[in-house]
C-alpha cells in the first residue's frame, strides 16, 4: 500500500534516510546545523509528550516544566557543584522522573479540561520556582558556565559534534518509543485509551499506567533539557515557561497525535516555520497564527497524515476512524 515496500525494501530505505540525516551538517552552512540541533532537542521532548498525550488522551500543558527541571538540575549540578555532566544528566533525569511520579498520582485524578488546567498550573508553579530560587538558578539573569558534555578528552563543544550527539539521543528515544508502542505495555495503554472501564475490568491498573507514561515523558523532557543546557552553556527560566509548553503541544498535534515519527516533523515544522516567517518582518506573528489555524482546519489529524492523505495514500477507513475518535474523545473529556 504505502510508499515503498516492506521487509528489505524498508530496511534499505531506513538506511538511506539515516545517511541523509548524517549528511545534513555538510549540506547547509553552520547556521542550519545549529537549527537542526534545536530541532533535535525539541523532537526529544515532543516524542515524550506525544506518548503521553496519545496514550492517556489528555492534554498536558506543563511539559516545559520537566524540560526546565532537567536543564536546571543538570546545569546546577555541573556548573555549581562540579558534578560530571553525564552524571548530572542522569541525576537530573532521576529527579525529574521522581517529580513526575509524585505529582502524577494527584494530577491524574483529574480529567479532561481539569487535567489540562492541572498541568498548566503545575508548569506555572515550577516556572515561579525557577525564577524565585535564584540562589541556585540565578533567577531571571540565569545560570552560566555550564560545562559541555565530553567523553574522555573529547568534548562536544562544537555544533558539528553536538549535532550527532543530539540526533543519536533522538533516534534512541524514537526507537525506544516505537518499542514501547508495540509492546505489551503499549497494548495495555491503547486499551486504556479505548475504554478505561473495559481496561479496568481486564485487570489493568489505570492510574499506574498513566503515571508510568507521565514519568516516561518527563524523563524524555529532562534528557532533552540537559542536552539543551550543555549545548547553550547558559540557561535562564525564560525558555521554560508556559509559552514553550503550548508550543510543544502544537508540535505534537501538528506532527499527528498518533504518530511517533511525526514528532520529528512537528518539531521541525514549528521551528522552521519561525525561520520562513522572517521574510514577513513585523507581520510574522500574524502569519504564524494564520498558518496554525489553516493547517489545523485543513489537516486536523496533523501534517503527516494530512499530507499523506492528500497524496492519496490514506485509507478510506481512516476518515471513519478519525470521526469516531473525535466523538469518543468528546465523551471522554467529560
Amino acid at each position: 500500500m504505502l510508499i515503498l515496500g516492506e521487509g528489505r525494501g524498508r530496511l534499505a530505505l531506513s538506511g538511506a534516510s539515516l545517511v541523509l540525516l548524517a549528511a545534513i551538517p555538510w549540506l547547509g552552512n553552520a547556521y542550519y546545523t545549529s537549527l537542526a540541533i534545536v530541532i533535535g532537542i525539541h523532537t526529544l521532548v515532543t516524542v515524550g509528550l506525544c506518548l503521553l498525550m496519545g496514550y492517556t488522551g489528555q492534554v498536558s500543558l506543563g511539559q516545559a516544566a520537566f524540560y526546565g527541571v532537567g536543564a536546571f538540575a543538570s546545569g546546577i549540578l555541573s556548573a555549581t557543584y562540579g558534578v560530571s555532566p553525564w552524571l548530572a544528566m542522569m541525576l537530573a533525569a532521576l529527579a525529574t522522573g521522581g517529580l513526575a511520579y509524585l505529582t502524577g498520582y494527584p494530577i491524574f485524578r483529574l480529567r479532561g479540561n481539569y487535567l489540562a488546567m492541572g498541568t498548566l498550573g503545575f508548569g506555572i508553579i515550577v516556572y515561579i520556582m525557577f525564577v524565585e530560587l535564584d540562589e541556585y538558578t540565578g533567577g531571571p539573569s540565569g545560570l552560566s558556565g555550564i560545562p559541555p558534555l565530553s567523553i574522555g578528552g573529547f568534548a562536544f563543544d562544537s555544533d558539528l559534534k553536538y549535532y550527532y550527539l543530539v540526533w543519536a539521543f533522538c533516534l534512541l528515544g524514537l526507537l525506544t518509543a516505537q518499542n514501547i508502542v508495540r509492546s505489551r505495555i503499549g497494548r495495555a495503554l491503547r486499551a486504556i485509551h479505548g475504554s478505561e472501564m473495559a481496561a479496568e475490568s481486564l485487570g489493568i491498573d489505570i492510574s499506574e499506567f498513566k503515571v508510568k507514561v507521565f514519568v516516561l515523558s518527563a524523563v524524555y523532557a529532562s534528557v532533552a533539557g540537559s542536552l539543551y543546557a550543555h549545548y547553550t552553556t547558559f540557561i535562564s527560566p525564560q525558555p521554560f515557561g508556559m509559552n514553550f509548553s503550548v508550543e510543544l503541544v502544537v508540535m505534537v498535534v501538528i506532527g499527528g497525535l498518533a504518530s511517533i515519527w511525526g514528532a520529528i516533523f512537528g518539531a521541525a515544522a514549528i521551528t522552521v516555520l519561525g525561520e520562513l516567517l522572517h521574510g514577513f518582518g513585523e507581520l510574522d506573528v500574524i502569519v504564524f497564527g494564520l498558518v496554525l489555524i489553516l493547517v489545523m482546519v485543513t489537516m486536523p489529524e496533523g501534517l503527516v497524515r494530512g499530507v499523506l492523505d492528500g497524496l492519496g495514500r490514506g485509507r478510506g477507513k481512516d476518515r471513519e476512524r478519525s470521526r469516531r475518535w473525535w466523538w469518543r474523545y468528546l465523551r471522554l473529556g467529560a
Binding site: L13, P140, S144, F265, V272, G274, W327
Partner: protein, 398 residues
Amino acid sequence: MPTPARIPSFTSRRSPLLITAFLFLLLSSLAAGLVGCSAAGKVEPYKIGGLFAVTGFNSPLGTPEKETALMLEDQINKAGGINGRPIKLIIYDTESDETKAVNLAKKLIEQDQVLAIVGPSSTGESLALVDTVEKAQVPLLSCAASAQIVQPVRKWVFKTPQSDSLAVGEIYDYLKAKSLTKVALLTSSGGFGTTGKKALETAAAQAGVSIVASESFGDKDTDMTVQLTKIKGSDAQALIVWGTNPGPAIIAKNMKQLGMSLPVFQSHGIANRKFIELAGDAANGVIFPAGKLLVASSLPDSDPQKSVLTKYAADFQAKYNKNADTFGGHAYDAIMLLKKAIEKAGGDRAKIRDAIENTQGFVGIGGTFNFSAADHNGLGKGSFTMVKIVNGEWTKEQ
C-alpha cells in the same frame, strides 16, 4: 452507547524517517532560498547585524532600538557611508526568546557574515550569546542593562546602557543628602527588577541605608495595593520601585488611591512619556535617575551631550512622529560607536574590537563613554541625572 473506537495506529508501516528527512530538507532549502539571495552589489557594504526583541515581552525595548538603528543606517548612508562605503544593517527579531537569539546570532555570523552585532535588547538574551560571540570572535554591543554582561570582562562583549548600579548609586546619594535611611523596596520579578533589587541590596550597607521591607510584583500584574498596604504598615521613610511599564504606573496610582504620602523613587525603567501618560496625576512627585535625554532642553549649553541629545530627539521625532526614549538611545550609542570603530579599523572584526576598546571620550546618548580593557561599559557617574516629575513634565532635580 459510544461505539467501540479504533485508536489511530502507532504501528504504521510507512517509512517515516524517509519522509521526515526529505521534508526537513525541503523546508530548510526553502528557507535557504528565501534568505539566500544576498546583495552582490558593486560596492561591498559594511554589514552590521542587529538583534532586537521587536515582538514578545521585551518589545518596548526592541522596537525603539530597531527604529533608531534603521534611522541611523539611513543617515549614515545618505552622508556617504563610512569612508565611502555604505553600511548594511541586517536586523532579526529575537522575539524576546533566548534560544532564538542564539540561533539568530549564529545566522548573522555564519550566513550573513556581519562584522559586529548590535543588541540584543535584554540581559537574558545577551548572556545567552556570550559564548557564541566569544567562540566566533565577533564584537557584540549589547543594549541590555545588567552589569553582569560586562563583569567579568569578556574580550568580545561590550554594552552601551548605564548599569543599574549607577542608578542605585544616584538614588542612595540623594537619600543620604535628605537624611532618609529606611527604605522599602517594591521590585518586579522580571530580569530588570531582580538585577535592580540585587544592586539595591548590595549597595545599601555602604550607603548607610537599611531596607525595612521588600515586596515584589509581576510584570503583568494589575494591582499592587496589597504589597503597598504591607509597606504602608512598615516604618519605611521612602519607597523605591524598580520595574518597567505598566507596573510602576499602576503602583503610582495605587499609592494615590491608598493615600500614601511616602516619598517615592523609581528606576530609569520609567524614563519615557508612557509612564506619565499611564499614571496621570499620580506621576507627579516621582523622582528617578534618568539618562540626560529626558531633560535635554534644560541642560546648560556647556554640557557636551546637549547637542547630540537634541539632534537625536529631533531626528527621531521627525522620522517616527513620537518621542525618542533612552532604549533607542542605547542602540544609537552602539551603532555610532561601531561607526567610529569601522572608520578607524575598516572591515576587520578583531581590529574593530580593538578600536571599540580604545574609544575614549565618545559623547553619546547614555553619557560620555571611556572604554578600556577592564571596562567594557565605559560609563561612569555623570551619566544619570536625577529627574522629578512636576505637572506632567520632567524637571532636573538637584
